[in-house]
Symmetry: none
Subunit: 224 residues, 4 copies
């Protein structure tokens, strides 16, 4: 039908081509991610999401059941994105220090580029991970993350470059935490310390700082 002359009196919307389910669904998901990460789950408005997406409100219910279903879809989509990206890192080809550096900086840059991920984590933790626990899709994604780190640590320990008693989960939480707190709390931190933590020079410096901290920790302890 597109391209043909619309009948007089027919609304023809360029922005949101009706009758394209895939596109409608994607538009809703994108809009919901933006709205929910900006306002939180309770703060997000169903009306606002529909408007942002340029679709009728009724469609949200058609595709996602209700607001909670929509939130769950956003959560799964967002978690899948980072875990998928991590798998594509290919750390096995690098020496342990370079691999660790790559992992740390990847994580850091992912946080910079995807503030919606940080925001969603905050929202989900306020919910005591209730939706995450309901999701069957998210948990399986995380085994490979631990494997990745474990392999890297093992290689480093064998080469005596890393200490040999590092817990991969504990380490991951440290790597993520060093970046997460800075980025997710940048608004309050910038205010109380009177510095603009979002300035790009500062972001780059922070990345190096995190690498230094992690590598210092991984260094084998000298015997005395």
């Amino acid at each position: 039908m597109e391209g043909s002359l619309p009948k007089p009196g027919t609304k023809s919307r360029v922005a949101s081509p009706t009758r394209d389910p895939e596109r409608t669904r994607a538009a809703i998901l994108r809009a919901a991610t933006a709205e929910i990460t900006a306002k939180g789950l309770t703060g997000a408005r169903v009306d606002a999401i529909a408007e942002r997406a340029g679709v009728n409100k009724r469609m949200l219910y058609h595709y996602f059941g209700d607001k909670q279903g929509l939130y769950l879809a956003v959560l799964e989509h967002t978690y899948a994105a980072i875990r998928t990206a991590e798998i594509g890192l290919n750390l096995t080809e690098l020496d342990p220090v370079a691999g660790m550096r790559k992992l740390v900086l990847f994580t850091w840059h992912y946080f910079i580029d995807h503030p919606e991920f940080l925001s969603l984590l905050a929202t989900e933790n306020m919910n005591r991970a209730a939706y995450l626990k309901k999701s069957k899709a998210i948990r399986p994604l995380h085994g490979s993350l631990v494997d990745l780190i474990e392999a890297l640590l093992k290689r480093g320990a064998q080469q005596k470059i890393f200490r040999d008693d590092v817990d991969p989960v504990e380490l991951y939480i440290s790597i993520a935490g060093l970046g997460f707190f800075y980025m997710s709390n940048r608004h309050t931190l910038s205010t109380i310390f009177g510095k603009n933590l979002s300035a790009s020079a500062r972001l780059a410096a922070r990345g190096e700082h995190i690498v230094e901290v992690v590598l210092a920790y991984l260094k084998p302890v000298e015997k005395t």
Copy 2:
């Protein structure tokens, strides 16, 4: 005293201490902190706060203007608590390593003991620190925190125990971040990694881990 008959006219009801403004105000603030940190600003219900506090809903408006005014009071009160506690640490009496250890563990235990602080930070950052920026009371509290860390770093550098190029704000963000992420995201992290991060043995281990990471980073770099 319990069990005995209260004299007529005597303030007796613990739940609703009428005619005691200080107590009423404090009860509202306490209830609001609990409700807001559990549900977020938009998720918190004014009715629920009033009920928790055992006061008439009207009183919230009497003392705090509106929901936003109440939130601001909670924010100021909560920030003041941690900054006040930090000042009482008296790190100057300890050697640099012991002082740093004390600061790190204090921060870590403060997060464990005051999950409402973490939650409030998440909420306020979702608001892009809008309320924090409005508050005249909070910002002045933070100069002394930086001074504290700076003094410690200086003493350590003079004694050649710490490297001499450490930015105190960057370091503070790392110390806090290593604990913050673990605690504030404990629900999602416990779920995706299949471990109960809130178990007390794990909390103690995490504290030692953070100390190790920080001290490893502060160690002067060896010349070669």
Copy 3:
């Protein structure tokens, strides 16, 4: 059509004509006019308007934003009605005295027939015309009213029937004021003077009185 069976699926309920936006909107506007002119803006109750209109309270917000938006719509609608009616008077076809008489009596009868207009003016002036000033629709309506009177005065002056120094705005305020005060204050005036000013014989007499006053004023001053 009344009495016949409505087809299934046909709009049938007079009280709540669902799915007929025009009708719903009009019903709300009508109900709001009645309630607001009876009680004033602050005295009017949103619940009462919804009930009078036979619609869900939520619809007021759907169509008019909030109570103030609804009030503005009532104001614009009410002003438009009188100004439109005035334009339909066709005074140009009459001789000046007959034309003036028609204008004066039209104004007088309009006030008798539309007490809601008088009431709304009182309310709006208590607001210091705040809403009128915000309205872009109302002011343009008034140029033609002045033109109408000006043309009449000019013809009368040319024919030496009217004095030639009459300000049209001042005159309009007098014509309106002679009727407005009587009608808008009829409750207090009836009480303090112990007469029922709303009796129809009195209303007719007042109309003639106003005509006399206006024409006496317009009479050219005799030279001596």
Copy 4:
């Protein structure tokens, strides 16, 4: 007690000396008049009146029973003021035209100087004069006003200066109406006609206009 040293810790308010019943009562009445004439009866806030008066809210109830009692007091006080002033006019000493002129201008200037009177009339008429009807004090004030006008008209008719068929109540309503509408509706009229009706030059001109209208009407009709 005044003049003596206040005990330390005692609040001593200069603005509203406590324990002076007359003054407290008057302050409340003044504040209530201002608030009610500015906002209407439903729009006026008891809290705002108390604050304006600088007294405790409880005092309003002590002196006036409730909000309605306070409104009634304001109404009676305000009506008494104009009727008392009218009695002091002493029109009997002047020739009829000068007397009428004096009465007309007095009325006009009273409206200019006492906008609260106009506002209160609007409010009371919105109430359909319900409070006025309840008041035993107000009605008796009005006989003398009619007498005053009647005497003036009679003298004028005897001297063949005025027509002899004028109804004094109808005339009073016209005199008042010519000023009332201009002043009470000055905000809407100024807006729709794009002129500032409150400018002092315009107010003076309006006064002369009203005098002209009234005297033209009173002029005896010429026989033909």
